[in-house]
């Protein structure tokens, strides 16, 4: 992913004149207080929102010019994890993850092979048949990460993935994302969890009122 340039305007300036590059294989924290534009940033990348002006390039493709019917194929290349997990309550852990394969037209047999594998990777190999509400927040988020990762996307976006997770387990979630990153996936994680950012020492992009106020490698959360 390179040359992400966007100017997002409206009555509310969610993002203003933001220009940045994130290289393939990077792990970046997107930090800032609520309303600083972190979520907008993520929504723009998966084309859930359109920029008012400016361009966004993913893998050298300008996603503004992407035809509408191609958007789903863009999203298959980007795994997403959210604060509220977005799991289907009436499906089991296995079914929730397999769903992402089903929807993209993969065969059932392939799902039967890969889903347990990925769930083992996230440490839930023994809970295939549990329902989401039988799991802790941390476990549910692991399911969500497994679902985001099942199709091996080159990019993984995480919007406050530790927001609804017990602080003692948050560390494990980010460690999981780090492992996914080490396997070659670009990871962008929006968060306002200072302890996590400071502990992992990754690139930190700080947003405030829709502007980038700081961008440093191996950074810390910064100001109080």
């Amino acid at each position: 992913m390179r040359r992400v340039t966007k100017i997002y305007k409206g009555n509310v300036y969610a993002l203003e004149d933001v220009t940045l590059d994130i290289e393939k294989g990077e792990f970046a924290f997107l930090v800032g207080p609520s309303g600083s534009g972190k979520s907008t940033f993520i929504k723009l990348l998966i084309k859930e929102e359109e920029p008012t002006s400016g361009q966004i390039y993913i893998a050298d493709t300008n996603i503004d010019q992407l035809r509408k019917w191609k958007v789903p194929y863009l999203r298959r290349k980007i795994g997403c994890v959210f604060q509220d997990f977005k799991l289907l309550p009436h499906k089991t852990v296995y079914q929730n993850v397999a769903y992402a394969m089903e929807v993209t037209g993969k065969s059932r047999r392939l799902a039967e092979q890969q889903v347990p594998e990925v769930l083992k990777l996230v440490g839930l190999g023994h809970k295939l048949d549990a329902f989401p509400d039988e799991l802790s927040g941390g476990e549910q988020q692991r399911v969500a990460i497994a679902r985001a990762f099942i199709n091996r996307p080159p990019i993984l976006l995480a919007d406050e993935p530790t927001g609804n997770v017990d602080p003692s387990l948050a560390d494990g979630i980010v460690r999981l994302l780090e492992r996914i990153n080490q396997a070659g996936t670009t990871v962008i994680m929006a968060t306002h969890d200072k302890a996590i950012v400071n502990a992992f020492r990754k690139r930190v992009i700080a947003l405030e009122n829709g502007r980038i106020i700081r961008d440093q490698d191996r950074g810390v959360y910064g100001y109080e």
């Binding site: 998966i46 509408k68 019917w69 789903p72 194929y73 863009l74 999203r75 298959r76 290349k77 997403c80 977005k86 289907l88 769903y99 992402a100 089903e102 929807v103 993209t104 037209g105 065969s107 059932r108 679902r147 199709n151």
Partner: protein
């Protein structure tokens, strides 16, 4: 194969969840298509009756005024025999006395109809047959426009003028029927779209997640389209059953019992009508879901 099973199970689950609404939508589809079927069958039966009647009846009656003189009558007769479409051997003069005798004969079981008549109210008349029954209208027109002593001719009647009146009445019925069918079809489309909207709303969370993991638009839409179409299909099946019942228990009885009317359904009518009704159901269902998807499913 995998996909078809997936769509079918999604459609069935959704239909079951909104059972009441789905039943209402199916009922309206059935009513609109059922009325369509009945209008078509009724119309077909009636127009066959007319055709049969017209084929048989080439008769025209010309009623003369009592003031008509012998010369005038002769001139009129010569004119009638001279019309090329008229069979000259079948032009007969009937005096008012003969007419009254015929009348008495015809209603001899109801003498009260003629017992108290002191003066014969029936006119002298000509009866003629055209060579070809379908020329009746033409002949009537010629008499009306070209006959000599036109003011001595009080009335020109053919079986077809009575048929024409009937035809007008039935035409009105047909028009009302068609307007009704269209109105009901529109309501059916709207109702189907409501059920689809409810289904979309019930699954909005799932739809969001599907979009998130990269489901294509059509992958998301298909179950809803199928739901609409299956409602239309079930509705048309019900309508066909109702139309069949009407045919077997009402129309066939009418045809048997009122044989003098020569009612009949064209053979092969149902083979065209029923597939059209199924098609109508599919179209209603597809339009309903397309409307709902267009308005409520942003993909």
């Amino acid at each position: 194969m995998n996909k078809i099973a997936y769509f079918a199970s999604e459609t069935w689950a959704s239909l079951r969840k909104n059972l009441i609404l789905a039943v209402a939508a199916i009922a309206v589809v059935a009513v609109s298509l059922g009325i369509l079927g009945m209008v078509v069958m009724g119309w077909n039966m009636f127009s066959n009756m007319i055709k049969n009647a017209e084929r048989k009846v080439g008769e025209v009656d010309i009623y003369l005024s009592d003031l008509t003189t012998e010369e005038e009558r002769a001139a009129i007769e010569a004119f009638l025999v001279g019309i090329p479409e008229v069979d000259p051997t079948k032009v007969t003069y009937k005096t008012k006395d003969q007419a009254l005798e015929e009348f008495k004969e015809r209603f001899k079981d109801q003498p009260e109809l003629w017992e108290y008549i002191d003066e014969n109210p029936l006119p002298n008349s000509y009866e003629l047959m055209t060579k070809d029954p379908k020329d009746v209208g033409l002949v009537v027109g010629k008499i009306n426009n070209e006959a000599p002593f036109r003011d001595r001719i009080e009335d020109v009647k053919s079986a077809s003028s009575a048929i024409e009146k009937l035809e007008n009445i039935f035409d009105k019925f047909r028009q009302i029927g068609i307007v009704g069918v269209i109105a009901l079809a529109v309501i059916a489309v709207l109702l189907v779209s409501v059920t689809i909207q409810v289904a979309i709303f019930a699954r909005r969370r799932e739809i969001g997640i599907m979009k998130l993991v990269g489901a294509t638009n059509w992958f998301i839409r298909w179950p809803f389209v199928l739901e609409g179409i299956s409602e239309g299909l079930v509705g048309s099946a019900v309508a066909i059953l109702v139309a069949l019942a009407v045919k077997v228990w009402i129309l066939d009885k009418l045809i048997d019992n009122l044989q003098f009317l020569r009612l009949s359904l064209s053979p092969g009518l149902l083979a065209v009508l029923f597939p059209c009704m199924v098609l109508g159901g599919v179209v209603i269902g597809a339009l309903g879901s397309a409307y709902a998807l267009g308005r409520f499913l942003e993909v």
